[in-house]
């Protein structure tokens, strides 16, 4: 029996408001882990992290510790990182290369596809012992979309391509921007914790009203440091800090687009200097020429022309194809989350591009960032505010009367609309109480 009845969950989400319990109630969180992270397609890593046969990396999928492996034939597998014998985590390494995985407790040994290869003292087991049933548990569905590996703990359900829908374009765009059509995960990862619900981060990533308020201190500090300096003397970091200082009217002109699966993206709003989507500096011209050589002028113009900023793939990743970065939110409990921020290198692009990627993520998402630390202060403050049981609802009505819904279910809105949050909760309802639940 469920801890919370479906009709009760459904009552927590209205078109223009949600109940505090969706953020503050651990029982709701537990159901999210069952029904959203325990069934849907969740990003687990990039193929470059297990490039060759017998490479592997360990990560997590919802509440599951997992290992993603490539077997001797190059096929990808997702395995639960837990020995079927006595329960120890088999693999501690973040990444590696091995012909088999051996549990450190009693040396049960598994092939890279998870099947049990051997254990010491096999004669201690009866002839009827089911070896095939004692492999590492396999994740039913593991698929790669253009190098991005997603996994689902549900044996059945919609396919990955159907889940991504038109937001596959965000991943396409990041790959197509590479002069070789290849990306590799590189440059390290930030692991940033905060005392707040995982959804707060995702909602904030397409909220264009908050920058002018929350980031005021870094916008004004940025302007003060820039004052008196010629534009060309400003570092990329300084340009980024100031870019959050657009007016509401400017942010309204940024495109906000959503899909029926709950994904959303916003247009790029950096317009000048080192961070402009298209530039005339030597590395950029060299890069553009390489793209033209590979895919011709029209496709190059189309790829570079899709200048977007945060692209959210429901439920928990935010991709920035322009700067080749990704943020991935790990839900720990109703009031604790970890944001894993990482970079991709466009293989074949001038060095300068990856340097900009590193500087972009270090400026925007380092634990000491002048930008994201203000966001986190707000998430933590929101979580504390939501502990109040006297005031129950959160409002999501901004620009609700202006949502433009197309026949295919996609939605277009002005930049400062709360459309993206409304769409995320529509997807939430679908997973939590829809047919799938």
């Amino acid at each position: 029996m469920n801890a919370i009845a479906n009709h009760e969950l459904a009552g927590m989400v209205h078109p223009d408001r949600v109940h505090r319990r969706v953020y503050a109630d651990q029982a709701v969180f537990d159901l999210e882990l069952d029904r959203i992270f325990g069934r849907g397609w969740i990003y687990v890593g990039h193929e470059s992290m297990a490039k060759k046969a017998n490479d592997f990396f360990s990560t997590w999928l919802g509440r599951e510790p997992i290992i993603v492996t490539r077997d001797g034939e190059g096929r990808l597998h997702g395995l639960i990182n837990r020995c079927p014998h006595r329960g120890a985590q088999v693999c501690n390494a973040a990444q590696g290369h091995a012909r088999h995985l051996t549990c450190p407790y009693h040396a049960w040994t598994f092939r890279m596809d998870g099947s049990l290869e051997a254990m010491p003292r096999m004669n201690g087991y009866p002839a009827s012992f089911d070896r095939a049933g004692h492999g590492l548990r396999r994740i039913p569905r593991v698929e790669s979309y253009r190098g991005f590996i997603f996994a689902s703990l549900a044996p059945k359900g919609i396919g990955l391509v159907e889940h991504l829908g038109s937001m596959a374009e965000a991943l396409d765009n990041m790959v197509d921007r590479s002069p070789t059509g290849e990306l590799e995960a590189a440059g390290g990862v930030f692991h940033q914790e905060y005392a707040g619900n995982w959804k707060l981060h995702m909602e904030n990533a397409t909220d264009l009203v908050h920058p002018g308020v929350v980031h005021e201190s870094s916008v004004l500090a940025g302007r003060a440091t820039a004052a008196g300096r010629p534009d060309e003397a400003e570092t990329q970091a300084l340009q980024m800090l100031q870019a959050n200082g657009l007016t509401i009217a400017d942010f309204d002109r940024v495109d906000l687009k959503g899909t029926p699966q709950g994904h959303t993206y916003m247009g790029a709003f950096y317009s000048k200097g080192d961070i402009a989507p298209e530039r005339t500096d030597a590395p950029f011209l060299e890069y553009r020429a390489a793209l033209m050589a590979r895919m011709g002028e029209a496709k190059t113009a189309a790829v570079l022309g899709r200048a977007t900023f945060n692209n959210l793939i429901y439920p928990n990743i935010s991709v920035n194809p322009l700067f080749q970065t990704m943020r991935r939110v790990q839900p720990i409990s109703a009031d604790r989350s970890i944001v894993h921020s990482s970079c991709f290198r466009m293989i074949g692009a001038p060095e300068d591009f990856f340097h900009k990627t590193i500087t972009f993520l270090s400026t925007a998402n380092s634990p000491s960032s002048l930008i994201s630390t203000d966001d986190i202060a707000i998430f933590e403050r929101t979580q504390r505010g939501l502990s109040s049981q006297q005031s129950e609802w959160l409002n999501l009505a901004r620009n609700i009367h202006l949502d433009e819904v197309a026949a295919d279910g996609s939605v277009a809105a002005k930049g400062t609309s709360e459309m993206a949050i409304r769409l995320q909760f529509k997807a939430w309802l679908h997973h939590m109480v829809g047919e799938a639940a």
Binding site: G187, A221, S362
Partner: protein, 172 residues
């Protein structure tokens, strides 16, 4: 290896006890400036070309190809300090309290009036109602002039730079 010549210092000659003592005093004073929120004076210890750098791992070679927890050049320090001081800084509404402690200071002279210094540090932090402890190693490159030492480079290797971190506000 001379006791005053640190392990890992590839070049340089030993410094006198007196020199070591003055270097140690300098590091203690640098931490105290942060503890006392005297950020502009902290910044003034750095050469214009100096970078305050906290890489994510001790193996990290540069800040161009790998993420850094901090990588503040002169512009970066200036804007960080302005924001630390800004009334709308949501992280510093209640100013963070810190205690910087410096230990195990070792130095060698790498050129006329230039020193490479390795030390270990602890930073006790009290922010938003939670007390936390950070630690790691400092690598300072210093130049001694008429008015004292100038920092040419500071590298801070956190013990957990690649681990899960909360919000960081006051430098190490």
């Amino acid at each position: 290896m001379n006791a005053l010549n640190p392990a890992g210092a590839k070049t340089g000659k030993p410094v006198s006890l007196e020199q070591l003592r003055s270097i140690e005093e300098f590091l203690i004073a640098q931490g105290e400036l942060l503890d006392q929120h005297r950020y502009e004076e902290w910044d003034a210890l750095f050469d214009k070309a100096a970078v305050y750098w906290v890489p994510t791992t001790p193996e990290q070679q540069d800040a161009l190809n790998t993420l850094s927890v901090y990588h503040d050049d002169a512009q970066g320090r200036d804007v960080r300090i302005r924001r630390l001081r800004h009334e709308k800084n949501l992280v510093e509404e209640t100013p963070t309290r810190t205690l910087h402690m410096v230990q195990n200071v070792r130095a060698s002279e790498t050129g006329p009036g230039e020193f490479e210094v390795r030390a270990r540090f602890l930073m006790l932090e009290y922010r938003a109602g939670v007390q936390r402890l950070y630690g790691g190693t400092y690598l300072h490159k210093l130049r001694e002039g008429d008015t004292g030492f100038t920092i040419l480079h500071q590298r801070v290797d956190l013990l957990n730079g690649d681990g899960v971190l909360p919000v960081l506000s006051v430098p190490f």
